[in-house]
């Protein structure tokens, strides 16, 4: 009994999920045009990465009822992207990925607004990330994931009884691919494990022992890494190796060939040289499409509640037959990033300088050159010099005063931490509690009640 005169809905298929009640749905699902229209008009989603996963995510989200998207990526388009990053053409090589991706999707899906950000994720203010309802990650490195995870989990606040406060929860969906393999996961800070809680899932990167490279090379990769890591610094001193400069890559290749000939080792090719030096991950369109679709589907479900969600980690392997598996990982209660925060008890007299020094000694942190932030206020910044100078007077003041004389609150500290013998940028949450704080008993009872 279809009324041929009535205008067809653009979201004809989505309507079935958003406008109709269901049985296997999320806890706060209110089907109807209001839900659909609110999603379209008010929900903001950030897509991190505009590469293999990012391009697919933007398309998938634009066609899942979302109209307000932002995308951030610091890279420019390269020829080797074109076999899968379908929003880019040969003429686009050299242009910023985020900008071209945004433009192309907006051209095809009318009504969608995509704001591109051609920048590093670390260069954005923390508050930038807080503007979004949900963050979708299409990244290719563990470090970048850890960073965003730290930021999103940084917004999380806990109640007195250590329950996460709903309005501070910033969900993320994260995808990753390599060849025919991939994963998609849902991270709800405070509820599901965050990236840091399950960091053990990622095996350490393969590194060749130095003595193998220097003394007993056996295969082509050893010869290449010798040229890259040992011979280059020897010959070029301070000049750092840039894999994107063809002359540098050719130099490494020629040296690798020489070494291989010396030891009678076959197999050094230019392609292998690039692969080893740049740590190239093979990639195809299909796996990226599959994983992004899974991530976008979860995003749709989390935001709308129109169905139950993935709990919480999906692995995919399409090379040997087809295998998908769902694993429900559990949170690490003591997680430094998504947990209530490492408890630091201080005297009200401790200065900011002393606090920063303590962070370096603290066994769970070992954080050097720390910058300190309390909510929106930067208490101290190590860099740039202009801001460092501006905040320097704070160092001699009591932290208790700088934090507005509250008995306890969260601070975020950002610096260099020593993890697995490697120095890494680290953003961590601390729960600071002041002992013997006076005039605080009123607040205490207020909270207790």
């Amino acid at each position: 009994m279809a009324d041929l005169e009535a205008p067809q809905s653009k979201t004809r298929d989505l309507d079935k999920l958003l406008l109709r009640a269901g049985n296997l749905v999320g806890p706060d699902f209110y089907p109807g045009t209001e839900l659909r229209d609110d999603m379209r008009d008010y929900v903001r989603i950030l897509v991190v990465g505009a590469g293999g996963l990012g391009c697919e995510l933007l398309k998938d989200l634009a066609l899942s009822g979302f109209r307000n998207l932002d995308v951030i990526d610091m890279d420019r388009i390269e020829v080797t992207n074109l076999n899968r990053q379908f929003l880019f053409r040969l003429e686009d090589v050299g242009k910023p990925k985020a900008e071209v991706a945004a433009k192309r999707v907006m051209e095809r899906v009318s009504g969608v607004e995509i704001v591109p950000h051609f920048s590093r994720i670390e260069d954005k203010e923390l508050e930038f990330y807080n503007d979004f309802n949900i963050i979708a990650l299409g990244l290719d490195s563990i470090e970048a994931r850890r960073y965003i995870n730290g930021v999103a989990c940084g917004f999380l606040e806990y109640d007195e009884d250590d329950t996460p406060r709903r309005e501070t929860i910033k969900p993320m969906v994260d995808g990753g691919t390599e060849g025919f393999k991939g994963h998609a996961r849902v991270i709800v800070p405070g509820v599901t494990p965050c990236f840091e809680c399950t960091i053990w899932l990622f095996p350490p990167q393969v590194k060749f022992p130095l003595c193998t490279l220097a003394e007993t090379p056996r295969n082509a990769a050893h010869c290449i890494e010798y040229a890259h890591l040992i011979k280059w610094p020897e010959v070029h001193g301070g000049k750092s190796f840039d894999p994107d400069v063809p002359e540098h890559m050719k130099w490494v290749y020629d040296e690798a060939i020489k070494r291989a000939e010396l030891f009678g080792i076959p197999g050094v090719t230019y392609s292998l040289t690039q692969g080893v030096v740049k740590n190239i991950i093979p990639a195809i369109a299909s796996t990226n499409a599959i994983i992004s679709a899974a991530c976008a589907l979860e995003t749709l479900k989390i935001v709308s509640g129109c169905s139950k969600t993935l709990a919480n980690y999906l692995t995919y392997n399409g090379g040997e037959g087809l295998h998908t598996k769902v694993t429900e990982f559990v949170r690490d209660q003591d997680c430094l990033v998504c947990g209530p925060g490492i408890l630091i008890e201080l005297d009200t007299s401790i200065t900011l300088q002393k606090f920063i020094d303590m962070l370096e000694e603290h066994p769970k942190l070992l954080l050097s050159k720390a910058s300190v932030k309390h909510g929106k206020d930067s208490l101290y910044m190590q860099a740039p010099p202009v801001l460092e100078e501006m905040h320097r007077p704070n160092l001699s003041k009591p932290l208790y005063d700088l934090m507005g004389r509250v008995q306890k609150d969260t601070v975020h500290v950002f610096g260099t931490a020593l993890k697995n013998e490697e120095k890494q940028s680290s953003l961590t949450k601390l729960r600071v509690v002041f002992k013997g704080a006076d005039g605080v008993t009123d607040m205490d009872t207020a909270i207790g009640a």
């Binding site: 653009k10 004809r12 989505l14 999920l17 093979p282 169905s307 399409g318 087809l322």
Partner: protein, 523 residues
Amino acid sequence: MSEPKTKYDRQLRIWGEVGQAALEEASICLLNCGPTGSEALKNLVLGGVGSITIVDGSKVEIGDLGNNFMVDEKSVGESKAKTVCAFLQELNDSVKAKFIEESPDALILSNPCFFSNFTLVIATQLVGDSVVKLDRICREANVKLVFARSYGLAGFVRVSVKEHTIVDSKPDHFLDDLRLNNPWPELKSFVETIDLNVSDPVAHKHIPYVVILVKMADEWTQSHSGNLPSTREEKKEFKDFVKSKMISMDEDNYKEAIEAAFKVFAPRGISSEIQQISNDTCAEPTSTSSDFWVMVAALKEFVSNEGDGEAPLEGSIPDMTSSTEHYINLQKIYLAKAEADFLVMEERVRNILKNIGRDPSSISKPTIKSFCKNARKLKVCRYRMVEEEFNNPSVTEIQKCLADEDYSGAMGFYILLRAVDRFAANYNKFPGQFDGGMDEDISRLKTTALSLLTDLGCNGSVLPDDLINEMCRFGASELHVVAAFLGGIASQEAIKLVTKQFIPMLGTYIFNGIDHKSQLLTL
């Protein structure tokens, strides 16, 4: 021209030039270019497939703007096939793209010969009867077929090919071919030239573990009446035996030997799967045998004669702590034996070709070499026809899955996906397709599903009501994200089938987008 090569660099590292060439020679036919089909084809076009032909008789509707990236407002009212074809052509101009404005259902009935033109057909969103008919046509014409269907938060992908043989199967984990417990003469002699008890500590810790384990395995079998360690205690004893030769704690080669000791316990000879392939009826070569089966026949002969129970040696060794000299020498020995085995195999292949009346040089050296290298990893995939599966599925499998917490969602959807087609045949619409009469549709779908279960022989099995309700709620919708997921899977299967590398799915993949407990069902 270096540009095309660089564009495909990231995928060449997966399937190589040989795989890429196979892709570029392939002609793919797509039936129905809604989002499921379009997204599948997009991935293939990006990968450089030779040609695509889109068959779809519908016009672009306003509702399509909400789920299909390849249509836009300007194209409303135009042929969907034409619109999608134009978009895909723009994605990669080295692909030859064509379209035919006709309903696939009609084409299946009126012109079955049409499908013989293609390497592979991707059939999306086909309903009931057409599926069975197309399957018959493609089976007859020996054209590979991949089905895909998106239905709300459910769907499926299924491959249908009579026989798909794979040499370069590239399994994820496969034991290397070291023959530690069955060394051939040249390996034995080489190992004998190395003294484990060398006094120089540097030399001591640069003896490769292959040498260590061959020696230790030999010593063990000599003192155990020719037997390898088999019980748990014996295996532990063997490892301790190896450990006892360490002179200091930092000997990486010995640590590697202990970790690799399990390779000594592995059974000698060919696996049961290869055994099965060798004993297949197709392994009796005739004039119509494919190259694959001719080579399997040669393999069978080789294993019973020169191989002495083993397949041709694979020839490569993994990296291991070693002096460069020992490692290179070891490598040469393995390569030499692999080459020798290859020459024997080549001779046998040529003889068999002669005997069946074919030109003895019609199978190239590289082909035979690749076969030898992959002889232990061969795979033969055979798929039941859809009709057979529909009429005679494994009842035990259905019942088992419906009763299992992790499988019941997927199995429920499998039954319901068939039930909705029956429903459509009876009532001329899908359950929940229109907004009115939902309750009636739910009860009718339930009845249809139960009667289907009975027809299949699964009396007494029930489907959860929640799932039936959700199926009606879906109302035969084609959501973009589900289409992109299933289209992605379909395209990946197509790539594996066309390149003849990696292993295609063996079964029907049922997508469960509610909790992602999708499953591969073999019925």
